[in-house]
Amino acid sequence: MPGVLFFLFFAALPMVLAFCLSFTEWNGLGDPRPAGLANWRKLFDDGQLTQSLTVTVLLTAVSWAFQTVVSLLLGVWAAGRRRNRAILSAIFFVPFLLSSTAISLLFHALLDPNFGIVRGDTLGSTDGAFLAIVFVGGWQFIPFHTLIYQGGARQIPDVLHQAAAIDGAGRYRRFFSITLPQLRNTATTSGVLMVVGSLTYFETVLILTQGGPGTDTAILPYLMYEAGFKSYDFGYASAVASFLVVAATALSLLLVRLSGFGAMRGTREGM
């Protein structure tokens, strides 16, 4: 199958290569030279990895919580069929039409101490920079996840709500006992996409904070980029990258397990 070969060549093979390269020393020119465990030792010895990993996990978790709550509520709300909701959801969708690069540039300008709408040096403080990245990521991707939840909420059969309403369940009771459990699969899909997506906050970090202040927002992908394409230490960058693959895979396996979701079968079970 040409499709499988293509994927293997451009996505799976590089992963193996990254692992191999992590045992070499290579400056991007000439050929890689074997370096044994030096890169891995460096990775685990300096505090940078621990810091990056902490920031990455924290950013992923906070973004996930923020985006899930907002897009779940908006999505369920927008699933109703009122006219003004359709118009509002159309407006809500607008941020998603800009590329991450454009959005990062926009917020970089809006957070500029000399120009922007928020006074003070937001991006200069550790918490400010972190929250800015979470917010900007949410601003961009919440429209997309809202849409996913809207689709999910529309698939919940009306009978369930009607039956519960007759049994005397109020709006909030229905939300917690019917809507939420029925959206479990939707939440998993959207959650996996959010977790993988938050690793692609690379351009947001690059443009908004450059990993700063100091290295306080240097998430793993940014650390990898700096090591490789700024310091030309590709061996070390590959070690960071291999670590990233392991972390990302572990994270999604965990997520899939936790939600008891398996190989995407039986979307309708339990109905």
Binding site: M1, V70, F92, L105, F115, G151, D167, G228
Partner: protein, 289 residues
């Protein structure tokens, strides 16, 4: 369920509207989000109309005293259309590549139950989790060895590869919806697998196919890392990277920078206005299965 009575039992005749009673809390929440969405957009547009000399120390929420389009013409004369053209070209190539590779693959994955098709499917399932960042270093090495460095192909090939896992998931989902009997009926009529693919699978899976098309087009449109690392010169520069280079070119000229951001949004916005239904419906499908 205790009540066996029909919902019509309600005396006020409002049973059909039980979902439609106003919900003040939800209304308030969505109004707040509306502000969150619109304020940056508004600030961006007013700022992009502000003359350069008014910009410093200017409050972005205030409309400019002397609005101007000068910032836009600056951007349009700085290679904007060239970058846009490259992005469109790359997006078309990525979509074509993904569809040509993934539709037959999903077809095989759904129709055959061998070890290899199962293994391939699981490979792609795992592939959803691979962040592109993790493999750029070796990809950089491979692209250089293939003599593709600094060409549009260097962007297109890996972008397509990384759009494949989600494409496969969506496509297998929509192909599973085609019932077994239709295949059997066609097989009885003596249709070859290839003919089934073109006359049955592709027409029936139109929804999934358009979702995948939209999704991979967005990946290409949004792509930044691959262009940043695999291209260098003006020739193959795509729009996202063009915007990034404007940062150094315009420096502190924030109005011009924001004008470039506005301009970059216009093409997708136009597509959105024309094809809203397909776009929104398609993306809803990503989470559906």
């Amino acid at each position: 369920m205790q009540t066996g009575a029909a919902p019509a039992a309600r005396p006020d005749g409002r049973r059909r509207h039980w979902t439609r009673r106003p919900n003040p809390l939800a209304g308030l929440g969505s109004a707040v989000w509306l502000v969150v969405v619109l304020v940056p957009v508004y600030a961006m547009i007013t700022a992009s109309l502000t003359p350069r000399d008014e910009a410093l120390g200017h409050n972005a929420l205030k409309p400019p005293a002397h609005p101007t389009l000068a910032n836009y013409s600056t951007v349009l004369h700085s290679g904007f259309f060239h970058y846009l053209g490259n992005t469109v070209l790359a997006a078309v190539a990525v979509v074509a590549l993904v569809l040509v590779l993934c539709v037959p693959l999903a077809y095989v994955a759904v129709r055959t139950r061998g070890f290899w098709s199962g293994a391939a499917f699981r490979l792609f399932l795992l592939g959803v989790a691979i962040p592109a960042q993790a493999v750029v270093v070796p990809l950089y090495l491979m692209i250089a060895k293939l003599n593709l460095y600094d060409s549009l192909l260097a962007i297109v090939l890996p972008t397509a590869a990384f759009a494949m896992p989600v494409a496969i998931l969506v496509l297998t989902g929509s192909l599973r919806d085609i019932s077994e009997e239709v295949y059997e009926a066609m097989a009885l009529d003596g249709a070859s697998p290839l003919r089934m693919l073109f006359q049955l699978v592709i027409p029936m899976a139109k929804g999934g196919i358009s979702t995948v098309g939209i999704y991979s087009a967005l990946q290409a449109w949004n792509g930044f890392l691959f262009p940043l690392i695999f291209t260098q010169s003006e020739g193959p520069r795509v729009l996202t990277l063009g915007l990034f280079t404007y940062v150094s070119q315009f420096g502190v000229d924030i109005p011009a920078l924001l004008a470039s951001v506005v301009l970059s949004g216009i093409p997708v916005f136009a597509v959105y206005l024309v094809a809203r239904r397909a776009l929104v419906g398609g993306l809803m499908g990503v989470g559906g299965k």
